[in-house]
């Protein structure tokens, strides 16, 4: 009961914040504190429900007459609620010290609380109408946030594409719920659970759900809007969209595939697995070749969503074959990755925001040397970069490790297609992991290391306290999440058991904190011990080395290969760092072409180098349809300019055709 009041109160607070911000400018200062408070309360309630394995439900006489508006907070939604409100909390913290006088913030702040509330409401909606209502509200508010920089044509294009794709997603979710509800129109989730659809309908529903949630989460080929829209928004909003809103899409898919659609059939697993793996690799290939800091992060979001979908697909496959332990591993991997990604992606976007704030630049090739000009941000960003590269002992690796364990169990699946898919998936995930490392070494190396490539980068300064706190909290979570993977997985035990039927084997490792999949005899990852040993080893080395060695350290010029005082432009840029990867992968995936124009010997003219990439996904799935629609529109437009007599001809034709139909039908 208290929980319900907590939820209602917090949502009310968000509403109040939005209204205040709309009405009076003096209230703008209140928005972020109110949001932070509401997020705290909501997160607390969610956490309590998640850990106590309870559920809150309420039913309001709103929405459709057929089924009122039903709200229910069960462990699944509670888990995602924790994720979301964590993101909202840190984003609001970050927002605290933003300049409130610009026109931009005035456009942003009234919508921020609505966005936060809508995401929470999607999670607790317990009937199809409410779910889609709030889902669409979420898209709408985030659209307005993306469009906030309204004089910039780029963000206009982005927001347009974004909302159209969101509408596409909503329509296919409408289909999904239509199939689930059936002709009788039982839209409440209970009614749907009561009579799950037959296999044929289930296939359609699954496809629709995959399109609907994939388009919001950025599943290839529905991804193209994401790297345009997420970066276009203000950075803390980008953090919300990338770190958190994509998780709502994951939630939608889980709700449909694991809950509403009834017991899974094994082949349900194939589409999410295949699309997910494809998305993971493609997303990073995009990311590793892009030069815009925020866009790189957005692309890496696509990759992580793909990874999560792979994990969910594996969970479906195992569950369909009643391999409970394996299903538990895969599902835990998915959930933990949802959590971890929300943390380090928010951290990275906030860091990018700090960089943007300090230098006014997003292009990697204009940055550099920030580790000296904004040291704190540099440290925090480094934590995020290492976490997202799935490197131990940070949190990204925990979920990655579990996922690999699930893949390694893949060969035991009876269906040929699945156990032959397993190695391919494993290889693609490994490739994705390696690419992620490359991608973020590249980002960090060009943005924060080396020497400044522009005056802005040289003049940069660390950002305000609130922003640093926000990033610090997230960085801390990344580290703790990395060390305490075992306990975290145990905390999700109820939820996983409820969904997958089994739970993660706990204990058996060398320490109680170790993470165990399929029993200790098979695979263990004990982050604390590893971290401890690494720490001991490094400290001892430090001590010993400093004992035995000369302590003297001299500062000298870098090795210049005989060219004294090389300018910063001689450094490796982001583009040049990507060159080997582009040569190896880009030529295949993006049919990349390099052209070098060398002046003849003795000519002083500079050599010119240019690269051409083709985004086939865009060409096929976006450019072509858009061209088709506009072309057809142009063609049909003739009908606006016919003469009256011709219109009469149309009318006459319609009449005669209908009459002849009546004449032939008996």
């Amino acid at each position: 009961m208290v929980g319900l009041y907590g939820l209602g109160g917090a949502l009310g607070v968000l509403a109040v914040a939005a209204i205040l911000a709309t009405l009076t400018r003096s209230a703008l200062a209140l928005v972020y504190p109110l949001c932070a408070g509401a997020a705290l309360v909501l997160g607390a309630v969610d956490l309590h429900v998640l850990l106590s394995d309870g559920s809150l439900s309420a039913s309001l006489p709103l929405g459709l007459p057929t089924s009122g508006l039903r709200l229910r907070l069960d462990p699944m939604s509670a888990f995602f609620g924790v994720v979301i409100n964590g993101g909202v909390l840190t984003a609001s913290l970050y927002g605290l010290s933003l300049d409130r006088q610009t026109e931009l913030t005035r456009r942003v702040e009234p919508l921020f609380p609505i966005f936060a509330a809508a995401m929470n409401l999607v999670l607790i909606a317990d009937d199809a109408y409410g779910f889609l209502f709030f889902w669409e509200l979420m898209s709408l508010s985030s659209w307005a946030l993306v469009a906030a920089r309204h004089t910039d044509p780029e963000s206009q294009r982005a927001s347009h594409l974004y909302l159209v794709m969101a509408a596409l997603g909503t329509v296919s979710l409408l289909f999904a719920f239509g199939g689930l509800a059936g002709p009788a129109g039982g839209y409440s989730f209970e009614a749907i659970r009561a009579l799950p659809p037959g296999p044929a309908v289930a296939a359609l529903v699954l496809a629709a759900a995959l399109v609907g949630c994939g388009s919001k989460g950025g599943l290839v080929p529905l991804h193209a809007w994401l790297p345009l829209a997420h970066p276009a928004a203000p950075s803390h909003v980008s953090a919300l969209m990338s770190g958190v809103m994509t998780k709502v899409a994951i939630y939608g898919f889980m709700r449909i595939a694991f809950d509403l659609l009834g017991p899974p059939a094994w082949w349900w697993a194939l589409p999410p697995i295949v699309l997910g793996a494809l998305t993971a690799v493609l997303g990073l290939l995009y990311a590793v070749l892009d030069r815009d800091l925020k866009r790189v992060l957005a692309y890496s979001t696509i990759e992580n969503v793909g990874v999560i979908f792979v994990a969910l697909g594996l969970a479906l496959a195992f569950k369909a074959n009643a391999f409970d332990a394996a299903a538990a591993v895969a599902l835990t991997a998915a959930l933990l990755h949802v959590l971890n990604h929300s943390w380090f992606k928010s951290l990275l976007f906030l860091g990018a925001g700090a960089v943007l704030h300090a230098t006014g630049r997003r292009d990697l090739d204009g940055l550099g040397g920030l580790i000296r000009t904004m040291p704190r941000t540099a440290v925090l960003f480094l934590v995020g970069a290492l976490s997202i590269s799935a490197l131990p002992p940070l949190n990204g690796f925990v979920s990655e490790w579990l996922l690999f364990q699930a893949v390694l169990a893949g060969p035991t699946l009876p269906q040929a297609s699945l156990h032959f898919a397993a190695p391919a998936i494993g290889a693609m995930l490994a490739l994705a992991a390696a690419l992620a490392a490359a991608c973020f070494v590249r980002v960090y190396g060009t943005a924060f290391l080396g020497r400044p490539r522009s005056i802005d980068a040289a003049r940069a300064h660390d950002v305000g306290a609130a922003q640093q706190v926000a990033m610090g909290v997230l960085a801390l979570l990344c580290i703790l999440g990395g060390l305490l993977g075992g306990p975290l997985a145990a905390a999700l035990g109820h939820l996983v058991k409820a969904i997958a039927g089994g739970a993660l084997a706990s204990g058996g490792g060398p320490t109680p904190l170790s993470l165990v999949a399929f029993g200790a005899g098979r695979s263990v990852y004990d982050a604390p011990v590893i971290a401890l040993f690494v720490a001991i080893a490094s400290v001892t080395t430090l001590v010993i080395v400093h004992r035995v060695s000369e302590r003297r350290t001299r500062r000298g010029p870098a090795w210049d290969c005989g060219f004294p005082d090389p300018s910063p432009t001689t450094q490796y840029t982001a583009s040049s760092f990507a060159q080997p990867l582009r040569r190896v992968y880009g030529t295949v995936v993006f049919s990349a072409r390099e052209t070098v124009i060398m002046p003849p010997p003795g000519d002083r003219a500079p050599a010119r180098f240019s690269v051409a990439l083709v985004d086939h996904a865009w060409r096929i799935f976006y450019a072509a349809p858009a061209r088709a629609v506009l072309g057809l529109a142009q063609r049909l437009n003739v009908l606006q300019f016919l003469t009256i007599r011709r219109y009469l001809v149309l009318m006459f034709a319609a009449l005669v055709i209908l009459l002849s139909i009546a004449a032939v039908t008996t």
Binding site: Q640, F641, T643, I644, R645, R646, L648, V649, F652, L655, V656, L659, S660, A662, A663, T666
Partner: protein
């Protein structure tokens, strides 16, 4: 009774012939005359129905048909044609032969449709219904195969003749008189428009500049 039916049937047939005459005529003056003839036949048919079925109110309709469409409007249109200096020739979209063929097809269609109706149907005979429908469709055809405003008006009015025929034929149908009055108002508006707004015969031009001038959506 039989005789009454025969006569009304005959008159309806004459009207159909007149409709074909409308399609056939080459000169506007002739078109107008054909239309006048059709309207007068209609007046006769309505009057006959009024007398034979003893529905005096129908005489009003008959009078309107005779006065307005039989005399007044044809004369007025003759005037317009001469005053606005409209071409004396009817501008056809499809040739006369083609138009007549299509008209024939339409008669066939209305026959085919009416045949499906159960013969037991009271009110007016199936074939008379077929005739009326044919006249309506032919009027419509007239509107789309002839190009200038006057012939369009004429086509519309002959359509409406068919309607009145059907209405009067439908025994005991209320409001027929009111409706016929309403229609005459409509036609009056029609002709009025032709006069006042100087709707020339070249109204439905295919000249792009004129389109740009007229249609608000190209500028």
């Amino acid at each position: 009774m039989k005789l009454a039916y025969e006569i009304s049937h005959l008159l309806a047939g004459v009207m159909l012939v007149a409709s074909f005459a409308l399609l056939y005529q080459q000169r506007i003056a002739a078109v107008l005359n054909a239309f006048a003839a059709q309207s007068i036949t209609l007046a006769l048919a309505v009057a006959w129905a009024a007398w034979s079925e003893d529905r005096p109110d129908l005489f009003i309709t008959a009078a309107i048909a005779l006065g307005l469409k039989g005399v007044l409007i044809p004369v007025a249109l003759h005037r317009t044609v001469t005053r606005l200096g409209v071409h004396r020739e009817v501008e056809k979209v499809v040739g006369v032969g083609m138009a007549l063929l299509v008209g024939l097809a339409l008669c066939g269609l209305s026959q085919a449709l009416v045949v499906k109706v159960a013969p037991a149907m009271a009110g007016l005979g199936r074939d008379e219904l077929a005739l009326a429908m044919a006249i309506v469709l032919l009027g419509f055809l007239m509107m789309i195969v002839r190009r200038n405003a006057v012939t369009q008006v004429v086509g519309f009015m002959s359509m409406e003749n068919g309607l009145i025929l059907a209405a009067t034929g439908a025994r005991g149908m209320p409001l027929v008189v009111e409706v016929s009055v309403a229609f005459s108002v409509l036609i009056a508006l029609f002709v009025f428009a032709v006069f006042v707004f100087r709707i020339r015969e070249r109204f439905d031009t295919i000249d792009i500049e004129a389109l740009d001038r007229m249609r608000g959506d190209r500028r």
